[in-house]
């Protein structure tokens, strides 16, 4: 494994894409809002490890994901609730439910920790999938950075539209820091808003892979090297394979 993103690529990697990957790995290594750098690094390692879990394969194949007994094949660094969260979101995200989420929280995970880990899962999946799609080896996980989590919870977070509290654009405060590309930002932007730093870290990465917010609804232009319909074919097929409307 290399300690640099896109090592060995024989393709022209955009500078902004390369920089986004390096920034994302640096963010993963730093202390977060509810987790230390070491805990975040352990989560990143478990996210990678989860792909080979035998229990997850049985759950994925079962008619009901809730009727499969067993223990996840974990690296042993995370508490059981975090292992369950990581494995189910990595391997079978299309069949999660609010009752499943509540069962994870009931095992001792806070809603802020849950959202921070979901943000890490999303980031590591994007980073590793991009490498895998280009035939590249995974980048080595960065060494954790020492320090304490900020433990910042947005004052305006409310549970209304989703399974967890969100910060609606009109409830965001200056203390939250920048979160949304516009006051009309869709719910996909708001999903991680209970942990604003996770939201910022994720979207800084995602924008360089898909499209920055200001281009999403400009269907007549493409800022990428493929056309907009080609872009949306990829998006639609990934989403349908994950049984997700997004």
């Amino acid at each position: 494994m290399s300690a640099v993103s896109f090592a060995g690529a024989d393709l022209p990697i955009r500078d902004d894409l390369l920089e986004a990957h390096e920034r994302a790995w640096a963010a993963i290594a730093r202390p977060g809002t509810w987790l230390t750098g070491k805990q975040r690094g352990a989560a990143a390692a478990e996210i990678r490890h989860a792909a080979g879990c035998a229990l997850c394969a049985r759950i994925k194949a079962a008619l009901s994901p809730n009727a499969v007994p067993g223990t996840h094949d974990s690296m042993g660094e995370l508490p059981p609730a975090e292992v369950e969260l990581v494995h189910r979101v990595v391997n079978d995200p299309g069949r999660l439910s609010e009752s499943w989420l509540q069962s994870v929280l009931a095992r001792g995970l806070s809603d802020g920790e849950y959202v921070e880990i979901v943000g890490l899962i999303a980031m590591v999946m994007v980073l590793d999938t991009c490498h895998r799609a280009l035939g590249l080896a995974e980048r080595a996980l960065p060494a954790p950075v020492a320090g304490e989590p900020s433990r910042y919870r947005p004052a305006g977070a409310k549970k209304i539209a989703a399974w967890l509290p969100l910060v609606e654009p009109e409830d965001a405060t200056e203390a939250d820091g920048p979160m949304y590309p516009s006051p009309k930002a869709g719910y996909i932007y708001r999903g991680l808003s209970l942990v604003p730093q996770s939201l910022r870290d994720y979207w800084a990465l995602a924008n360089e892979h898909y499209l920055p917010g200001q281009y999403v609804y400009q269907f007549d232009k493409s800022i990428r090297a493929i056309s907009r319909p080609q872009t949306e074919i990829l998006a639609a097929r990934v989403s349908s394979m994950h049984q997700c409307v997004y």
Binding site: L11, P12, R14, L17, A51, V89, P93, G94, S97, L101, V115, V118, G119, I121, A122, M125, V126, L127, T129, C130, R132, A133, L134, G135, A162, W163, K184, G186, Y187, I188, G191, Y202, A206, E208, H209, V216, F219, D220, R224, A225, I226, R228, P229, Q230, T231, E232, I233, L234, A235, A236, R237, V238, S239, S240, M241, H242, Q243, C244, V245, Y246
Partner: protein, 116 residues
């Protein structure tokens, strides 16, 4: 999003077919290779990915292949955020995802099964 971008180009799209993995009703260059690329990447099938990557490199160019990989990767994150936080899917695609469209694409079937 796909339907809107196709409309701009004056084309239609078979969303139900695409949901099932068929690119037959999609009149876009390299549509079949793009669909196959996604399926190989999602399945973590390195050999199949390598084969279709070679075809895309030829059809889209090197920069196009990089962007195809990046976009495919991006949606591996979006779907997990959406599904793990339970954001309302009725607001997807900025409200352009109307109920008839969800039915046509077969998306409602996912949710009927999940919510049963």
């Amino acid at each position: 999003m796909l339907r809107e971008s196709m409309k701009i180009e004056g084309q239609g799209v078979d969303l139900a077919g695409l949901t099932r993995g068929s690119s037959a009703g999609v009149d876009v260059p390299q549509a079949a290779e793009l669909v196959e690329f996604v399926e190989a990447v999602v399945a973590r099938d390195a050999q199949r990915t390598a084969r279709v990557r070679a075809r895309l490199r030829s059809g889209l160019g090197e920069a196009g292949l990089v962007d195809a990989a990046a976009i495919t990767a991006a949606f591996h994150g979006f779907v997990r955020i959406a599904d793990a936080t339970g954001i309302p899917y009725t607001t997807a695609a900025g409200g352009r995802d109307v109920p008839e469209l969800r039915e046509e694409a077969g998306i409602n079937e996912f949710y009927r099964v999940r919510d049963a």
